[in-house]
């Protein structure tokens, strides 16, 4: 694979303005964060940038801080840091638990929040070497005309498989984006679209600057994923749940999913459970809701119907467990599912 690594130029801007200028100057440039997704993709000929813009030395993209009533996490923050950070443990522990499930420890030393949120979609017909793909006639996502997953269709169904996005979505997070036209803030859900060939609603010249997580007093959240191996593996389905409990009923419920379609998304219709307890009937309703809204396709070796059912099962288990935990007094010192406290600067 070394031989296949294409030639490119590496530039290392020290400021956001320099990074954006470098991007604007070269239509074939790509931003390089941890490189744990981009470099293997380049070695497989999936992307062929002429310039890599290393965004690891830009101060504005680094660091985790409480900013008013939200937590601001720089896009270049590594997942290892996210796992170990005290502010994250206190205000958004679900992000640390999701980060801990990404790849392996060595990847997480380098891998970043921005790279995880901007991860390319994956498919068993796509994440292959150049010769493998050529032998198979390539595919719609790159260099080919037919989708081997859904040959009669006209779109790519590769699956978004990042673990952080659903965890951030149940916290109602937003992303701060910088581009040639200035800054904008978008809800994280709005960063994605249901198209495996172009999964991000992000201009080519735009850059993720930070993730903003609003204060979530009284919510408790966690993330669970199903995968073939217990480590170094993408989710077949990943589910994040955040809930608030009042007495014996739900006061709030948010569910978000990854790995089951071309975009991570917030499950619609969970508000109908507010005011109810979590009994077998409620879990059955949630199970149906998940099975109806996920859209796994034949993009993994594991059959799509398994991913649909495991997504629903993970949701049921998480909701049941978190609802029970929410009845208990808060654990001292936090922990992955400790109720998230009010933010104070």
């Amino acid at each position: 694979m070394t031989a296949a690594m294409p030639g490119f130029r590496l530039v290392t801007p020290r400021s956001l303005a320099e990074a954006l200028a470098a991007r604007a100057a070269d239509p074939l440039a790509r931003f390089l964060a941890g490189g744990t997704d981009l470099l293997p993709a380049m070695a497989r000929g999936l992307v062929e940038p002429e310039t890599l813009i290393d965004i690891g030395m830009i101060a504005e993209l680094a660091g985790i801080a409480v900013d008013g009533d939200r937590l601001r996490i720089g896009a270049a923050t590594t997942l290892a840091r996210l796992q170990a950070d005290a502010l994250v443990a206190r205000h958004a522990p679900v992000l640390a638990s999701a980060a801990a499930t990404v790849a392996g420890p060595q990847h997480r030393t380098a891998a970043t929040v921005g790279g995880n949120l901007c991860l390319d979609t994956r498919c068993v017909f796509y994440n292959q070497s150049q010769w493998w793909r050529r032998a198979n006639g390539f595919c719609l996502k790159r260099e080919g005309t037919v989708c081997h997953v859904a040959p009669t269709g006209t779109r790519c169904h590769a699956a978004f498989s990042g673990d952080l996005a659903p965890a951030a979505m149940v916290l109602d997070a937003s992303v701060e984006i910088a581009g040639p036209g200035g800054r904008r803030i978008a809800k994280l859900c709005e960063l994605y679209r249901d198209d495996g060939a172009a999964p991000l609603c992000l201009g080519d010249e735009e850059l993720l600057v930070a993730l903003h997580v609003p204060a979530a007093s009284g919510w408790i959240a966690d993330y669970a994923k199903s995968r073939v191996r217990g480590a170094i593996d993408f989710p077949l389905a990943g589910v994040a749940v955040a809930l608030r409990r009042s007495g014996d009923t739900l006061a709030g419920l948010r569910v978000a999913l990854t790995g089951t379609g071309s975009r991570p998304f917030r499950l619609a219709g969970t508000d109908a459970e507010i005011g109810h307890g979590v009994d077998d009937a409620a879990l059955e309703r949630l199970d149906k809701l998940v099975q109806k809204q996920v859209s796994p396709m034949r993009s993994t070796m594991t059959p799509a119907h398994y991913r649909r059912r495991v997504a629903a099962a993970l949701t049921r288990r998480l909701v049941r467990r978190l609802f029970a935990e929410a009845a208990q007094p808060p654990m001292r010192g936090g922990g992955a599912t400790a109720p998230q406290s009010e933010m104070k600067p």
């Binding site: 694979m1 070394t2 030639g7 744990t36 070695a43 790849a103 420890p105 060595q106 170094i232």
Partner: protein, 155 residues
Amino acid sequence: MKSILRLVLNGRTREDAVSDRSTLLDYLRAVAGLTGTKQGCDGGECGACTVLLDDAPVLACLTLARRCEGKRVETIEGLAPGGRLSRLQRAFHERLGTQCGFCTPGMIMASEALLRRNRNPSDAAIRDALSGNLCRCTGYVKIIESVKTSAAAEP
């Protein structure tokens, strides 16, 4: 394009001309001549190329050499200056934590990173620290025992 890379490799400062596309793995094996770091998958899947970058474990095959500018890189060779094995290496030898040996440099560097952070790790912490390293021979049990033995032998 080539440019000068300056880093501290196993405790010694070096300067070499490296190309932008060169990975740390290419640099270590082909330029520095340190072939202890293994090239398993060369795609971030196996952990055989694990080295320490400023004490943290990274995959050399997914690290561009030029991004190590000014940093400390440590490889398996760095653990045995003058050929004298470290306590951790001896533990792998004595507890049969190595068979064919191909995964061993990566296993040892990942374990070394753990032991520097946590001198007395639990089984769970060891398993977690080694969860990015694949071994086709040992079945892992002996590897975990080796790391435990080394930790227990700490003065």
